[in-house]
Symmetry: C2
Subunit: 212 residues, 2 copies
Amino acid sequence: MGVKERKERDKVEMRDKILQSAQHLFLAKGFDQISIRNIAEAIEYSPATIYLYFKDKNEIIHALHLDGFRLLVRHFEPLVKFTDPFERLIEMGNAYIKFATNNPGVYELLFVRTEPMKHITNRLDEEWKEGDRAFDVLFQTVSQCQQSGHFKGLDTQNLSMMIWSFIHGLCSLGISNHITHVKEARDKKLVVDAVMASTYQTFQTVMERLKA
Amino acid sequence: MGVKERKERDKVEMRDKILQSAQHLFLAKGFDQISIRNIAEAIEYSPATIYLYFKDKNEIIHALHLDGFRLLVRHFEPLVKFTDPFERLIEMGNAYIKFATNNPGVYELLFVRTEPMKHITNRLDEEWKEGDRAFDVLFQTVSQCQQSGHFKGLDTQNLSMMIWSFIHGLCSLGISNHITHVKEARDKKLVVDAVMASTYQTFQTVMERLKA
DNA sequence: ATCTAAAAATAAACACCGTTTAGTAATTTT
DNA sequence: AAAATTACTAAACGGTGTTTATTTTTAGAT
């Protein structure tokens, strides 16, 4: 009488298959190439079948969104080895930048595109958990910095938000090719990275001065 | 023998008409509703006609892009009344945030979407002038702050870039609904604005501490 | 084994999209 | 008035997300 159970497994399997194909298309050919029809062809089913497993395309994109967050969190894991909270904070920025420049498409999905957020909107508490957790890693580190006597008189939440805003702004400008105003833009990819690096270096200096 | 002249005027007029319709569609119904077919219907011509005046859709979007920059620059104009460079810097941030939150679509067009930048890519020098000029306003102000003795030992270009990154990050997160991790998100619009305001307040404090 | 009801998959259509091509209509030049 | 140029468009191509009606497959009961 394990029919029901098997069917449920099959359903999950199919969902996974769809998501895998979507992710593959996304990573191989970019956001625009995630189309229901492309996914359908990849899994060798008709486009309509996909709608038996997902409400609409946004739900698929949102699922990819979650996967992206897991990848980001994985970038943060090695940070535990930095015992000094300030050092960890700085390295967290480097990890974040590395994640963004190595996975620009994923980054765009997580923090630039509005589609995945639209899908959430209502039931925020359940769905934005991953975002909360990632932000909390930052929050905790900032908090520990303050316990060590840094950043006196600044609100932890606001300061964390400020740091995130800066780092996100830098990554977002870099990825969207908006840093090209730098005159010596010969080999672009390299120059953008260089600008991001020296800008972050400056930020680092600023944060160090703020220690006192 | 003013036939040629009249025809040239007509051509310009038609271009304007197309752009006006595009802008109207954009502001009224959002980025996605800028379609060649919608524009064509609005100006009561066939879709194919539009291609006699613009190479492709990207060229139209890029033209809107330029208009958006003019709007941004207009937001900066009242800043001349602040004679103290640091005060002007802070107010510039307020003006930028105001521009972004009042014109989220336009902001997205200018600094988030990659389409308009794609269109530029090659001939950067001619086309990214507006961007250069806007950045220069910031650069000059930061420079004047340093001449007044602030921000000692920091590279002007890097510091300007850092400030822009922060402000852009804040606006970008706000507009794309990525600030919703704040728990007390009841009336969203309001809360997002509040978070942006207090984050910017913190940034302001940080910059003030950096004066010395 | 057969019939039936439920579940799964799909073909085909709808309403869009950007863009191109080939042909028509209007205008200017000769 | 005829020829040449310019302005315009109908129709098609290949794409998109999504829905509806229909068919195929599967499961359970007789």
